[in-house]
């Protein structure tokens, strides 16, 4: 058993947040000076092999965050609601999978939610300064007062996590209980888990604990057991222990090789720089041309030619019998 995180101290000094604004390593649409020292990286380890699907984590998440999910309808499956929402930051996804080697039905239950990527696609895509921040302990958090509800984070996310609220039109997702972690507590879901399928600690501790679990699983015949800490997004601060780590996608579509979409990288990278340059060049070319070539002016001669063509320049028309019809030449 992983040693549980002790209950909080009642000493008022213990309530002082242990990290904040000064510990930001990334801030959306802003350049910031990274802090001199990085906090110890934290991580949540979700051991899918120990999950019993009780949804205590889902309930604890709603409770801690003062959220109420809409009462839905029974779709004939265990998933409830059917997808993450602006209220459901974490969701148990149930998959019935037939192992082709053993012909056994395996019930894969994955707790879905924000992975707290080391290289967060949501933050990269966000256009609003400070709406998404990343603390040096690895937590990626949304700052609702800065969110404009554009939904770019949804496009940036490789895991399809953020959801826009229909009420306040800002984006919501798991905060990794940054408010609890700030005072030395673990996330609410971890606290509620009855089987220690969710554990929380430093990233190193979690990797060590995962190794122990994977060895145990391998000794029981799960030879592909492994840790899901995808390097395509620089690693994550929410990791899974999977019995079939060679095929993450069987766990309700967990991406095999998540990374920020190259389309998003192109949009936020070369398009931005080339675009600004192109518009700048177009404007500068205009100014330069005007300075060099001067204005294109109508001359006196042009006016005289037009008068000659149109006729009746000096004498008021009509000079003779009206031509064919009204429009005179």
């Amino acid at each position: 058993m992983f040693p549980p995180i002790p209950n909080p101290s009642v000493d008022p000094a213990a309530a002082a947040p242990r990290f904040g604004e000064k510990d930001l390593i990334r801030r959306s649409a802003s350049t910031i000076e990274p802090p001199a020292t990085r906090l110890t990286e934290v991580a949540k380890l979700i051991d899918v092999t120990k999950c019993i699907g009780c949804k205590a984590c889902q309930a604890a998440c709603l409770e801690w965050n003062h959220l109420t999910e809409e009462i839905g309808i029974n779709h004939g499956v265990y998933d409830n609601p059917m997808d993450l929402t602006e209220n459901t930051f974490t969701l148990m996804r149930f998959t019935e999978w037939v192992n082709p080697e053993t012909e056994n039905l395996e019930w894969l239950i994955r707790k879905d939610g924000c992975m707290h990527c080391e290289d967060p696609g949501c933050l990269k895509a966000c256009p609003s300064p400070g709406a998404i921040v990343q603390y040096s302990n690895g937590i990626v958090d949304f700052q609702h007062e800065n969110c404009i509800g554009c939904g770019y984070c949804i496009k940036g996310c490789p895991f399809n996590i953020p959801r826009i609220s229909k009420v306040d039109h800002t984006a919501y997702k798991c905060t990794l209980c940054s408010d609890r972690v700030a005072v030395g507590q673990g996330p609410a879901c971890q606290k509620a888990c009855p089987t220690q399928a969710i554990v929380f600690g430093t990233k190193e501790e979690m990797k060590g604990w995962a190794d122990f679990r994977i060895k145990d699983l391998k000794s029981r015949g799960f030879e592909n057991a492994g840790l899901y800490d995808p390097q395509g997004v620089g690693g994550t601060h929410v990791m899974y222990v999977l019995h079939h780590a060679d095929q993450p996608s069987i766990y309700a579509g967990l991406p095999d090789n998540p990374r920020i979409s190259p389309i998003v990288e192109t949009w936020k990278g070369i398009t931005k720089y080339m675009g600004m340059a192109l518009m700048g060049v177009a404007a500068a070319a205009g100014v330069l041309h005007y300075l060099v070539a001067g204005p294109n002016k109508v001359t006196e001669e042009d006016e005289e030619n037009a008068e000659r063509l149109a006729g009746g320049a000096t004498v008021p028309p009509p000079a003779g019998p009206a031509p064919l019809e009204g429009r005179r030449s």
């Binding site: 649409a29 802003s30 256009p127 609003s128 300064p129 800065n146 404009i148 509800g149 554009c150 939904g151 770019y152 949804i154 496009k155 826009i164 039109h169 979409s261 389309i263 998003v264 192109t266 949009w267 398009t271 931005k272 080339m274 675009g275 600004m276 192109l278 518009m279 177009a282 205009g286 041309h289 005007y290 070539a293 001067g294 204005p295 294109n296 002016k297 109508v298 001359t299 006196e300 042009d302 006016e303 005289e304 030619n305 037009a306 008068e307 000659r308 063509l309 149109a310 006729g311 009746g312 320049a313 000096t314 028309p317 031509p323 064919l324 019809e325 009204g326 429009r327 005179r328 030449s329």
Partner: protein, 242 residues
């Protein structure tokens, strides 16, 4: 037809003379170029295009995010931008109906383009005579038409508030990339359009009071002027020009 200018070429079927175009002899000659409807239509399009560029650039690059202040903040910018887009699209669609026929490519456009360096160097006398629009103006017209079509289509795909369920996230990613790249080209075309109006003196009055001087028409759109002089306008109202 009267023959004030015997050297004038025989006018060919002039589909670029539009209803409302008329020439008024006098000193100077004035030529009606845009009806009041066309001008209002143009300025609604112009204002929405500028507002779209400002609000779009605000969300395009963090360096210009401050522009959201013009629209009442980030949330308001996010709300307004697509609606202004709808206004632009409808307004431009009307402009398209008004102007497309006069913007059809002609043989002379190739020749005009071949001489475009003469134009930029100020040797306009070497340019071929063109009708109501020259090849550059036609380029602006057709490229804007195409770009706006792409912009409204990709814009709807990324208008999450109303259209989120209809496309996949991958499609939305493509839409955003296409939308931003297309918008950059549209802004460049807009720069060309505005610069041309600034550079070619006497042009603004066409879109403000609706007319230009005869000299302007002679210098820049001589074929159109000849057509107007030699051919009664197509509109059946038959109001005598004065």
């Amino acid at each position: 037809m009267t023959v004030h200018d015997p050297k004038a070429p025989v006018p060919e079927p002039a589909d670029d003379v539009q209803s409302g175009d008329a020439v008024h002899p006098g000193h100077p000659v004035t030529v009606d170029r845009y009806t009041v409807g066309a001008r209002i239509n143009h300025w609604i399009t112009a204002v929405s295009l500028v507002l779209l560029a400002l609000s779009g650039l605000a969300l395009f690059t963090p360096k210009l995010f401050f522009l959201t202040g013009l629209f009442g903040g980030g949330q308001m910018t996010r709300i307004l931008h697509p609606w202004i887009g709808v206004v632009l699209f409808c307004s431009f669609a009307l402009l398209f109906v008004r102007f497309w026929r006069a913007n059809l490519p002609k043989r002379v456009d190739a020749e005009w383009l071949a001489h475009s360096s003469d134009l930029l160097a100020g040797r306009e006398e070497k340019m071929p005579e063109v009708g109501k629009y020259n090849a550059g103006q036609k380029f602006v017209f057709w490229s804007m038409s195409a770009l706006i079509l792409v912009l409204i289509t990709s814009g709807i795909v990324m208008w999450d508030q109303y259209f989120y369920p209809f496309t996949t996230i991958e499609q939305k990613r493509i839409a955003i990339l296409v939308h931003s790249a297309t918008a950059i080209f549209a802004i460049c075309v807009w720069i060309v359009h505005v610069y041309a109006a600034i550079w070619v003196k006497g042009t603004f009055s066409a879109m403000t009071r609706g007319n230009v001087t005869g000299g302007w028409a002679w210098r820049h759109h001589r074929k159109w002027l000849r057509e107007l002089v030699h051919k009664p306008a197509k509109s059946g109202t038959g109001t005598p020009a004065e």
